[in-house]
Subunit: 68 residues, 6 copies
């Protein structure tokens, strides 16, 4: 009966990758906690890079900087 | 002062249906718990069917299968 | 398949009141959107009054003030 | 290591305003609780006005009414 | 940079099981989407069985019923 | 009308610190976006350190390690 919400930046995750996330998280809950997969719900939020911050900065700005 | 978040798959809920959800949930909190409707907030997230999984599968795939 | 999260202040909601909320929200989603109740999930978070703010103030402080 | 989610109605917040929110919230957590900004994450959800209710009514409808 | 929230009913998940969930979800995001584990955050909410409903009923009540 | 949820590890934040977070976030939304403070809601979740992971590890374990 678990509910899982995954938030990622919107950067082109494919339908197949999302399917892998959903299947993988569901299997993990079955294997670790013995949960019933039939009522395990997973939702994925894809968040615009202007709307995601880390270290006080927008990801859309961080992506422009050269990596050290 | 309650806050309610409703997540549904994005499948064409109309503005009128959303209004009914908002009104219905607010009334429920007033009737059951005596909450003040003026500060009761309801948000609705419509989630792409590729981004919603149940039973380890994407809803976009489940919808394609014939019902038993 | 909807998922609903209800946040209320922790002020002694009874088990019966929570059951009413769960049943009421589930029925609302069935009636308004034709959702399947079997996979409709509702969770309730009861939040300490020190941890809930409105108008920039903690509810634990607001509750001490006389009503106008 | 905090995680902050800000939900606002979708009404044209600019990239610069979102940057201010992200920076401001991060600084607040550093200043008040001594949190490490490098692992402080902030996400902003912009919610359609049809999908946001207060007082039992959609914001898209409330915005049409004259202010008293 | 992903953020994952896992909600499960409070039924005695051990510290070790929670560690497995955290490690497993983080690895999944690294393997499927190439995310940086260092900034991948996972939180687990354990929800009282009176506060979790499915099919319109509290889990605390469902657990009492004999399985068919 | 914004809604803000702050998640922090449960490590003894005081009532006064929580009040500062609530007031600070509310002021930020008023100053940056011109939001109405009266309907701005802030909730704080304090998460057990066993239930929070970063870099694939529980914070309760990370706290035991010497800092480099």
């Amino acid at each position: 009966m678990p509910y899982v919400n995954i938030k990622i930046t919107k950067e082109g995750a494919t339908k197949e990758q999302k399917a892998e996330l959903i299947e993988g998280v569901t299997n993990l809950l079955v294997n670790v906690l013995g949960k019933n997969p039939a009522t395990t719900v997973v939702t994925i939020d894809e968040v615009d890079m202007d709307n995601w911050g880390i270290g006080g900065q927008q990801v859309s700005e961080l992506r422009k900087k050269p990596k050290p």
